[in-house]
């Protein structure tokens, strides 16, 4: 059973967690399902008393998605239906960037290995520190540094 204070913290984290789901799945409907499953899993199993709610939830979310990826082999499905992500665009570019440019970065992000994409999203979009990302993804700090750098490097190559 999740305690009330942790439930409150999880509520505060839901939008950021949804972004993480979108980053992992590349599909709005799957992101909704993944978020739902993550919340259900956290409610069902609870978490250690000393656990940081956001970090724990990200970790649960990622593990569920990896389970799902393997089970459904969605990676191949999405490769064949990459255009489906267009439905996620809310219409119009953001922050003065060209829509085409945003689509290119979207496609480049989707082309990254999942472990690099997750690390970069958490650092560049969510503003998490490397130490926090290491905890969320359950990897050593040095691996975070390497994955974030490799992600930026790959994106630079793709966007040249």
């Amino acid at each position: 059973m999740l305690k009330d204070d942790k439930k409150g913290q999880l509520i505060d984290e839901l939008r950021a967690l949804k972004r993480f789901c979108v980053s992992l799945t590349g599909d709005s409907a799957d992101a909704d399902d993944l978020l739902q499953l993550t919340v259900e899993r956290v409610l069902e199993r609870g978490m250690p008393e000393d656990a940081h709610v956001a970090k724990w939830s990200y970790r649960v979310c990622r593990n569920i998605w990896l389970d799902e990826l393997r089970s459904r082999e969605v990676r191949q499905r999405y490769a064949a239906a990459a255009s489906a992500t267009d439905a996620m665009q809310s219409g119009g570019a953001g922050d003065g960037f060209d829509r085409l440019e945003l689509e290119r970065v979207d496609a480049a992000m989707e082309g990254l290995p999942e472990e690099q994409r997750s690390a970069l999203l958490l650092v560049a979009v969510e503003g998490r520190s490397y130490a926090e990302v290491a905890e969320i993804l359950d990897i050593p700090l040095g691996t975070v540094m390497s994955r974030v750098a490799r992600a930026r490097r790959s994106l630079a190559e793709k966007l040249e």
């Binding site: 919340v39 069902e44 250690p48 000393d50 393997r70 922050d95 490799r150 930026r152």
Partner: protein, 244 residues
Amino acid sequence: MADIHTLDIDGLRRDELLSRFLDGDLSAGEQADLEEKLANDADLRARLESFKHQDDLIKASFRAKSIDVSPGLFSRLQKDGTQTARSYWRGLAAGIGLAASVIVAITVGVLGLPADLGSENGLEIDTSLAQALSQTPSRAEGWDVLDDERDFRAVLTFPAASGNWCREFMVARSENHWRGVACRHDGSWVTQVMAREVFLEESGGYRAASAADVDQVSRFIDAEAIDVALSAGQEAAIIDANWR
């Protein structure tokens, strides 16, 4: 074109330094050194600017997407209840054609390391790992270092349907990460399931499934746990009692 990920080591080091600079991860000394180099190297400055621009694009891309959270989910959290969670997950598992009971039967039947996870990968329940399982409290963050420099973390402890205590744990060595569950059996720790945690190859391809996959760990716990994970205090008491 050469594979930059394997051949351009200097470039990778440079990019890692720039990345850490962007993310505020450098020490004061490292930052001062890099700032000096940036002042004298136009190519390095251009590389940094391209990384910054990419980051801005990524942020803008996510802001342009609809990131709505279902109001029902907020309500779900504000209320209490775990009554639907298990059936929801089971329904999904059934829907994707993976009967959890079959997987668990295969996995539990091993009662030891899966055949493809021999001692060469460092995951055998050797003395140091058994000692760590017996004595290390579960934690949500950080790693303990075993004698042979493997990183170890006890994740949680739960009672299994068999009546034994089980622990989910993580072991990491370099880029290799494993997750597993071990349970007490006749006074010793016995691996029930073990799985590699990294699935995707550098190229973005999909690594073939092995005999023991990480989804089996989750499903093993789903199937075997008869209660939620122990609290820190409960777990400390069990450790003090030497798992009796």
